[in-house]
Symmetry: C2
Subunit: 193 residues, 2 copies
Amino acid sequence: MKYYLREGLLPPGRSTAATQAEYDEAHVARLRLIRALTDVGRLSLAAVHAVLQALDAGPDQLAQAVGTAHELLGPAPRDDEAPPTRALAAVAELGWRVDPSSQALRQLDAALRAAEDVGLPPDEQRLRTYAGAALDVARLDIAGLPRADTAPAADVVAYVVLGTVLYEPVLLALRRLAQQHLYSDVEGPPAGP
Amino acid sequence: MKYYLREGLLPPGRSTAATQAEYDEAHVARLRLIRALTDVGRLSLAAVHAVLQALDAGPDQLAQAVGTAHELLGPAPRDDEAPPTRALAAVAELGWRVDPSSQALRQLDAALRAAEDVGLPPDEQRLRTYAGAALDVARLDIAGLPRADTAPAADVVAYVVLGTVLYEPVLLALRRLAQQHLYSDVEGPPAGP
């Protein structure tokens, strides 16, 4: 906690004596948030800083703050210059409307390129299945989104940032467990995957 | 490439002169694989080493090799000692049969605990939607699995390891893009999420 105070991630408490300070509910909540972002989200302290700034931003910087937060949540592909042609083709095929300059598009492109490089490019059926699963999840994500015109901006940003950081590991862990569950039907007792 | 040779990740080529060596197709394929594991999979060199060993293992070490590879693909939760009670309850609720000592179960537990800590625990509907999406994807993953009794062991391990490393970013990127696509219907032109 002292470390976070020193790094400016937590506001100072109310001094009650020369070496003591009081911390309120808000401090405890923020501490939990920082822990979640670093432990589960694997964010660097610099990224946590930016996310907290986004959370504290006023309503008029909302869209920008959410965009910044999403950018930071990486992973950032190394090769940023090549146009994401594979990803653009994939979303066109799916009929999705997305921001052509978004980080997620570059992430998708890097993953598709890498799969191609090692001789395992996803075929159309795989892409459609993954896209369908992603849509099911995203539909629920969007349905839970606090309305920007009534909810405090911090709530909307918190929902987007935490929804991304916290629920991505849930989805990935469930995929691995689903593989185990299905694999145990094929092969007997669960072994590896 | 020289770096990977020095680190023992690539076997030496056939010397053709004092300062030259020939590299064949297998070298190029392995180099692509290392790149994919480090760039997209974000694996450490130590983890790449272990994955390559798993790929080169004989058929009788297959299950163990796959298990080892999956363990390395992290992210490893920090607090390994607490029993994953939340995750165990979740898979029991879903009726899935999984290995109670698996890394994926601990990952799920850490993510569920973190979501709870910041006041955003997934409700039953969210868990079921995510699990349904994970099952759709896993069913396709399993269907494509080379049969262990006919395919070379390296192919099976390659499929599991690469399927995890390469397709997880595909799934996550598609989820973010699906959010953008759906969000653009709600809010007009795509902005942040």
